[in-house]
Symmetry: C2
Subunit: 268 residues, 2 copies
């Protein structure tokens, strides 16, 4: 399996990780990519490396696929395939964004420093992903399979409560988490004193919200001194992530999970 | 801490588990209760045991609470408190439904029989909980903090695509998972050959859907022979769960996550 486009070279004995996700958009795949990039561990991303390899993603979500080698079928991307990690050294296949992050976290050194940290990191990553789901629903509130233009009125209503009630609820929450952990994390980390997958995940959600709701983010940022003042700019400076962001390799937000429709943003 | 209302007696040395959830509704708390009941492990549920103890739930989600003893604050119930399991034998506090289930699964013997099962169980539980979230959104598609009556038009539209597209997608998916695992699970278990927290979680979602959309469930049940014909009735017969269901202790669906509004159900 080629890893030509990957930032880092796989070392002898390192597991061979394959991220299976739609090509061309960051989407939920980006939460997984950020974990690899932060840890500077190589991974393959076939649908983005070679357009002839998209089938590796889509064959796994074919409505006839019932799983393989003891792995159940995935419902949707992202999926992670790990060579030789399944039963009798077969490939292991797992899906669901928070589940893939949970699997990778300890292996990539992003799981904090004591045993119970794992459950707090998972708790916070799940909460950040809930916010990500709500951000998706701002442009698809009533019909997942229809166009935005077919649910624009509903999107306007959903987005209003999203900006006025939900964003303050989540931002206030994460501000409190950073405050409670300020002794160890100095406002830069959610759990303990070093980077975890809760941080990379929340960062990507914040970055997506800056893309989708630039006016709202600008208007409220001074209310969240730790979250917007220290955490958001701080994570971008982390080794691995800084390189990745500067590399130009990172996929740009467009018409995926986070979308910029100016009419859904703050109007004043 | 009293455990007077709990089904099972805590044995010497067993951890003291406290489920913190809203009183009176099954809600997301029920996913946690089912895991305890299936394992026949005692737990305390203070808000349901004594109305004077609701504050134990609400103090933890107070907008001023920044966490305690190294546990970050929760955003919302359910939460699980485990005596002595935190740093320096303090209480550990964790939240997020799938995270609590992940924590409990191995401790309650609901995590399958080999190491990688955990990630497949978590994957399937997360997917069942996604369906649970979509079922919630059928009556609250555009404004989480408003009444159903204020978003009835949107609910009708959301529910139509939920019944016509989303339920078949999820049901078809779980049918395939059961099919792929038929050799070990005989249509009765999602992963391997014994009960896991993916099973208890999916069962509760199916039960909620039977309450909320009885006509839809009746109309389509013959399409899903394993899911509706074997899995759904089978889980109810599991030791622990059968007792619990027959005990009358289980909270009834009402105006929570799953709601029965006949106008949102199939009309023919």
């Amino acid at each position: 399996m080629s890893e030509s486009k990957s930032q880092h070279q796989r070392k002898e004995g390192e597991p061979q990780y394959t991220l299976l996700y739609h090509p061309g958009i960051p989407g939920r795949g980006e939460y997984i990519r950020l974990a690899f990039e932060a840890a500077q561990v190589p991974y393959s991303d076939p649908a983005n490396e070679d357009k002839n390899r998209k089938h590796e993603v889509y064959s796994k979500i074919d409505p006839k696929f019932t799983g393989s080698n003891g792995s159940p079928p995935p419902l949707a991307p992202p999926m992670l395939q790990i060579s030789g990690a399944g039963k009798n050294n077969s490939d292991l296949l797992i899906s669901q964004t928070p589940n893939i992050l949970l699997y990778l976290g300890p292996k990539l050194g992003l799981a904090g420093s004591n045993e119970t940290d794992l459950y707090h990191i998972n708790q916070l990553a799940l909460t950040a992903l809930d916010l990500s789901n709500e951000a998706h629903d701002t442009h698809h509130p009533v019909e997942m399979a229809a166009y935005y233009e077919e649910q624009k009125e509903e999107s306007l209503r959903y987005s209003k409560q999203f900006r006025e009630l939900r964003v303050p609820k989540y931002f206030g929450y994460f501000e409190r988490v950073l405050k409670g952990n300020e002794g160890s994390g100095e406002g830069r980390y959610l759990v303990g004193g070093k980077l975890t997958w809760a941080d990379t995940t929340l960062w990507q959600v914040l970055d997506g919200l800056h893309f989708a709701f630039p006016k709202e983010c600008a208007a409220i940022q001074d209310k969240y001194l730790l979250l917007m003042g220290k955490f958001y700019p701080g994570i971008m400076e982390e080794k691995g992530l800084k390189e990745y962001i500067n590399s130009g390799k990172r996929l740009k937000f467009s018409q995926g999970l986070f979308r910029n429709y100016p009419e859904l943003d703050r109007q004043d």
